[in-house]
């Protein structure tokens, strides 16, 4: 991999890390309503995969979506503005963390319902294919989602119709408190193969490995060889959700967490780049995030009387909650 590409990957991962650390602190301080599901630790997955996509390709994301959205190229200022519920957010403050979407970049939305993205991804992929385009759709989801019916149905649909979808399972070994081996029978990649897809497993802490594996599979999608499946073995470094972090609740073994932190994808790549390069990028990223915070905290909030704006795209006379 070229040194320039490595720098890009590093920058992108670091941007997510810095963004998420700031968000986590803000969520714990109560500045972000409802809190967030931090992506910290899993950066290599979003970044490795998305480095193979163009702005015209699509992604569907999850409850733990900030990393995917940023890796796809979304402006961190506007993402943070969304998390603060302001009009400058992508969703004009209507979506928040679990629904952040920038349709201009093909980001079909984070999603609050586990497993919901895969079928949406398949539909978008079919539409692209029907138009004769070579766009692909990447659908991210966790190991927990592998047991959701609608996602399994989507595997079948994408496979039978040979749709250009890359299904990316971010296997961080836990679904909230549920251990992988208590939730998933048969193994993720093996299960995907049972739906007639090409399936691979990769070290999700090594961004170059992820990028390489994804490049190949995405190439297959673009060439019309149908969907593929990539399991990325990874780990989240913080609690499932910022509320749990706030309460100090951790369902995992502390030693296990510490061990995985040793495999942090950012210093892993940083070491290949050298301290100088790293320091330079880190400083630039910090500045970007500082700016984002500045931008977002100064953005205007929507007005309560507009609470139902956008409820319908077309016309519909909606009656209010009380009629006097």
């Amino acid at each position: 991999m070229s040194r320039e590409r490595q720098r890009d990957l590093y920058r992108s991962m670091k941007l997510i890390r810095e963004f998420e650390e700031r968000c986590l602190a803000m969520a714990i301080d109560g500045e972000i309503n409802g809190g967030i599901h931090p992506y910290i630790g899993q950066e290599a997955v979003a970044v490795g995969i998305c480095s193979n996509l163009t702005d015209r390709d699509f992604i569907t994301s999850t409850h733990r979506g900030h990393g995917h959205v940023l890796a796809k190229g979304a402006d961190p200022r506007r993402l943070l503005a969304e998390l603060l519920g302001t009009l400058e957010g992508f969703n004009k403050g209507r979506g928040g963390s679990m629904h952040a979407a920038d349709m201009k970049l093909g980001i079909l939305g984070a999603n609050g319902i586990v497993g919901a993205g895969g079928a949406i991804a398949s539909g978008a992929a079919w539409a692209a294919k029907a138009r004769g385009n070579s766009e692909v759709v990447v659908s991210f989801f966790g190991d927990g989602a592998m047991s959701q019916g609608v996602l399994l149905e989507a595997f079948n649909l994408a496979s039978i119709w040979s749709l250009p979808v890359l299904f990316v399972c971010e296997n961080n070994m836990y679904a909230t408190s549920l251990k992988l081996e208590s939730g998933l029978a048969g193994g993720a990649a093996r299960r995907a193969e049972g739906f007639g897809m090409v399936a691979r497993t990769v070290d999700g802490m090594d961004v170059e490995a992820v990028a390489g594996a994804a490049a190949e599979l995405i190439e297959g999608c673009r060439a019309g060889r149908g969907p593929a499946f990539l399991e990325c073995r990874t780990y989240r470094f913080f609690g499932h959700h910022s509320v749990l972090e706030l309460l100090g609740v951790e369902f995992r073994d502390r030693d296990e967490v510490a061990q995985w932190r040793e495999r942090d994808p950012i210093p892993l790549l940083g070491a290949r780049l050298g301290a100088d390069v790293v320091a330079e990028i880190d400083a630039a990223v910090k500045e970007t995030i500082d700016e984002a915070v500045e931008f977002a905290t100064n953005a205007a909030s929507p007005e309560p009387e507009d609470a139902l704006m956008y409820l319908y795209a077309g016309t519909a006379a909606v009656r209010p909650g009380v009629i006097l």
């Binding site: 992508f90 919901a116 949406i120 539909g123 978008a124 539409a127 989507a154 649909l157 319908y312």
Partner: protein, 315 residues
């Protein structure tokens, strides 16, 4: 049925982003989709695996990418199976994205209500549920409306559920003469004018209400309103009617508790000028339709019950 089939042909011809998907749509097992595969090919008429959840959200994804899917469901209760995908996904994307996307999907339930002999899991009429959730919901009672409303539903930029009453599928076939007019969503139709009492009748009960009104014409001058779109409901039309007649009876083939009938009666009580207590004729609370025919028909509202309710309200 013929009317809906014509509407599908017309919309697919008019807009090449419109496409059809569902189970056995190619062969047109329900009759509603006949001939479409021949006319538009397998690129626009997709036979799906038995994966209602995935193909419903597939429609959402295709819509996000600019397509206009029409999704057929063979059984009304399949709406339960895809409740999440319609109510919690498709419906919510417009607001949740701050208006970045629209989801112009049509959910075509090609036979809703009792089929007399299909028993508990095939006889429900779940339109009140979708209306509660805020899905634009259409229940036509006349063939021309089935045609005109289905076209509007497909053209609408939001998700729209279209419930064709099972009881009318045969009849529609014969009666539809082919007047091809678009019927806008959200507009009710006064199918019979009268001064003494307003009957709101939905779907298959529009015809029933007209007959009952006729049979009672020596006793009272009954107005019959067909809402056509049950959500958003045309309150202005009903207000005018009830404020004129002062009396209201609703016949609605959904369960009593929190059904469409409840909404109509409630709104009338809150806002209209009633001179007598209103009444509904509906299914009992929590109805499960039994298999034996006599039991099935005992639970579905009919002419006799409507007549009784009108008489009682006129007193």
């Amino acid at each position: 049925m013929h009317a809906m089939n014509l509407a599908l042909h017309a919309e697919m011809k008019a807009d090449e982003d419109v496409f059809l998907l569902g189970e056995d749509v190619g062969v047109g097992a329900s009759g509603v989709t006949s001939g479409l595969l021949d006319s538009f090919g397998p690129e626009r008429v997709l036979d799906t695996p038995l994966s209602e959840q995935a193909f419903t959200s597939f429609g959402t994804g295709a819509a996000m990418a600019g397509k206009k899917p029409v999704i057929e469901y063979q059984i009304s209760s399949l709406i339960y199976l895809v409740f999440e995908q319609i109510v919690n996904q498709a419906h919510k994307f417009s607001l949740m994205t701050g208006g970045q996307v629209q989801i112009p999907v049509t959910y075509l339930i090609s036979g809703s209500g009792s089929r007399f002999g299909w028993a508990g899991q095939h006889s429900d009429n779940p339109y009140s549920l979708l209306a509660h959730a805020g899905i634009k919901t259409v229940v036509p009672g006349l063939p021309a409306d089935a045609y005109g409303l289905l076209r509007s539903a497909i053209q609408d930029p939001d998700p729209v559920a279209f419930f064709a009453p099972s009881a009318l599928l045969g009849a529609t076939d014969v009666a539809y003469a082919g007047e091809e007019e678009i019927v806008p969503l959200g507009e009710a139709n006064v199918v019979r004018e009268g001064n003494d009492l307003t009957v709101v009748a939905v779907g298959q009960h529009v015809g029933v209400a007209l007959e009952v009104a006729e049979s009672l014409s020596d006793r009272a001058d009954i107005e019959v309103v067909d809402p056509r779109t049950v959500y958003p409901f045309d309150w202005d039309c009903l207000r005018e009617s009830v404020n004129k007649t002062g009396r209201l009876v609703v016949i609605d083939d959904s369960n009593r508790m929190c059904g469409l009938g409840a909404e109509i009666i409630a709104t009338a009580a809150e806002e209209f000028d009633l001179v007598a207590p209103p009444r509904r004729v509906c299914r009992p609370d929590g109805t499960v339709i039994p298999y034996a025919l006599a039991l099935d028909t005992a639970l579905v509202p009919g002419a006799e019950q409507l007549t009784d309710a009108i008489k009682a309200t006129l007193k």
